[in-house]
Amino acid sequence: MANKTILQAINEALDQTMENDENIIVYGEDVGYEGGVFRTTAGLQQKYGEERVFDTPIAEAAIVGSAVGMAVNGLKPVVEMQFSGFSLPAYNQIVTHVARFRNRSRGKYHLPMVIRMPYGGGVKALEHHSESLETLYAHIPGLKLVIPSTPYDAKGLMIAAINDPDPVVFMEPKRIYRAFKQEVPDEMYEVPIGKARVVKKGNDITIIAWGALVREVEKALEITPEVDAEVIDLRTISPIDYETIINSVKKTGRVLIVHEAVKSFGPGAEIISIINEKAFLYLEAAPRRLTGFDITVPLPKGEPYFIIEPKQIANEVKNIMAFKA
């Protein structure tokens, strides 16, 4: 057991699964020799060779499309989209093929593959480097969408994603790649896909978040000690663990969903719909969303307005708690 960052935890998950199974291969733009622009795959090519860990031409459709063929022919590809904003040239492959091969062939073929993509803002980046595109992937039947928020979960979810018989889009909160360390077991373990994590139990309000925003929620609660909040880290956006959400809302009656993805038609809208369908009579206040604005993520000089800070979250929590029917 040692203290590791999210980045190190993902690297370790890739390393240990590759060591265990020679059918696992890792590739994408700059992931081989350099080890990725964030160094998430550092050292893997040196250890496993250029056939299993390699750099590709800048061609996202080829990266994902070739992974389809590899998975059909017995490999387990783990491919990287350098940033989620650049996954869109591969979107055709992901939506029209990756998500559908099992159904299209009535189970003759299935695609055990992982599409990794750093996502989210807060790193003062150029255009297209800060997007939160959860909705684009969670909306597609046949895909799973996983987002870790801690080093422990990052390793366990990555191993579970690699072992999963279905394709998994694995979004990595790049803002907190190296933000903090946590004790991570040295051995291999899985964190189950499709199960949310109750970060903190409470009775007053349910706060649902994922990725980099889980920590921001925790910070917000430090400045609102008067509120006994239950915090849920969703971890898997799709398929969603509505059981954990509904059980919590039935207890608290109040809900705040925090995500950086833009508001309209975003994941928060889906979560609130589920709550309305399954826990309507338990609600004591209208469920609310604190999300990215419905705009293009601003460049760094405007980005601070877009990034959700703990004070904002605390403010929303207080508003919801103040509501009396």
Binding site: P57, A62, G69, N103, R104
Partner: protein, 365 residues
């Protein structure tokens, strides 16, 4: 090497068997086993008959939208005959003959066009990927299959078909470049049937040939008479040898023609002259191949009649069987989204079952 002798920039097209069924290039006549020649011919007749019947069924309201292959049989069967059983076939959607040659059953092939996903569940040992509708995207799949073959040092190649229209697509470029860069055992056959629905090839690219696109990828490209089964066989045979030796992919442009419509929803009279179609009917691959087989004393008119009779009956019987298969069960449309149904899917399915139990069957009307 064959590929060095036919320069796509000079529009040099390989032909061995001309449209009269005469060998015009006897040094290159491939030595194909008698059984293989007969299997090639029988598959072409099965493909042609199936297309003709499917068009009829569609007009009778018994078949959904259908994309016929008439005129393109040699461009599909020639390549498949040159491959080995362990090789992979990656499809677009106008490769009915290639699928049949490779072991997809006629029932499965019809079932797909009849509107049932089970038609894409080929038998376990049939190494064929399902029909791929989004234009051009299958090249990358073939590259991936070939990457796995190479990594695992398997003695197998992937053949991938695409239309002339598909070569305009970005994924054609990405896939060809990927396969060439990693020297993958892949063979790309462009069925240049001259039309992307209504858009003629000349309006889709400034390039004189599609084969010359290979030059930019640093791989061999060759233009072949796609209605000549012997030329298509030979060129794929050599492409396979290169691939197995680790020399990488080959780009083959099969110059052919779509005698029928793009699909049954299309009216080709709107965008091409009958005289053009008539010129191509004279170049029919089946007519020339039959002459060749008869000249070789492998085939007779009598056998031909018997084959047509037998095939017609087989096609009619098979289609009847497909028609009797009916709709799929409700569970089936949910079952294959993931390995295990998610709680969400189970709930959606059960709610709908409850509705059906209360309100009776939903016929989608």
């Amino acid at each position: 090497m064959l590929f060095d002798n036919y320069d796509p920039l000079k529009e040099q097209m390989l032909q061995i068997l001309d449209h009269n069924g005469k060998i015009v290039n006897d040094k290159l006549e491939p030595n194909i086993k008698k059984e293989t020649l007969i299997k090639m011919y029988e598959t072409m007749i099965l493909g042609r008959t199936s297309d003709e019947k499917a068009l009829q069924f569609q007009r009778q309201g018994r078949m959904l939208t259908y994309a016929p292959n008439i005129g393109q049989e040699a461009a599909q069967v020639g390549p498949m005959a040159a491959l080995e059983p362990q090789d992979w076939l990656v499809l677009a959607f106008r490769e009915f003959n290639a699928m049949l040659y490779k072991g997809v059953t006629l029932e499965q092939a019809f079932l797909y066009w009849y509107g049932n996903e089970r038609g894409s569940k080929y038998d376990d040992d049939v190494k064929v990927l399902p029909i791929n509708v989004p234009i051009g995207s299958q090249i990358n799949h073939a590259a991936g299959v070939a990457y796995a073959s190479k990594l695992k040092k398997l003695d197998e190649v992937s053949i991938v078909f695409i239309g002339d229209g598909g070569t305009s697509h970005g994924e054609f470029h990405e896939g060809m470049n990927f396969a060439a860069t990693f020297e993958l055992p892949m063979i790309t056959v462009i069925q240049n049937n001259h039309y992307a629905i209504s858009t003629p090839r000349r309006k889709a690219t400034k390039a004189k040939t599609l084969a010359q696109k290979a030059i930019a990828y640093g791989i061999p490209g060759i233009q072949v008479d796609g209605n000549d089964p012997l030329a298509m066989y030979l060129v794929v045979k050599e492409a396979r040898e290169r691939a197995i030796k680790g020399l990488g992919p080959t780009l083959i442009e099969a110059v052919t023609y779509r005698i029928g419509p793009h699909t049954t929803s299309d009216n080709p009279k709107l965008y091409r002259e009958d005289s053009e179609v008539e010129e191509w009917i004279k170049k029919d691959p089946i007519i020339r191949f039959k002459k060749y087989l008869i000249d070789k004393k492998i085939w007779t008119e009598k056998k031909d009649e018997e084959l047509h009779e037998k095939t017609k009956k087989f096609v009619l019987d098979t289609f009847k069987h497909v028609e009797e298969s009916g709709n799929v069960e409700l569970e089936e449309i949910f079952n294959y989204t993931y390995e295990k149904m998610t709680p969400n899917l189970i709930e959606q399915m059960n709610n709908y079952k409850d509705y059906l139990a209360k309100e009776g069957e939903n016929n989608g009307e």
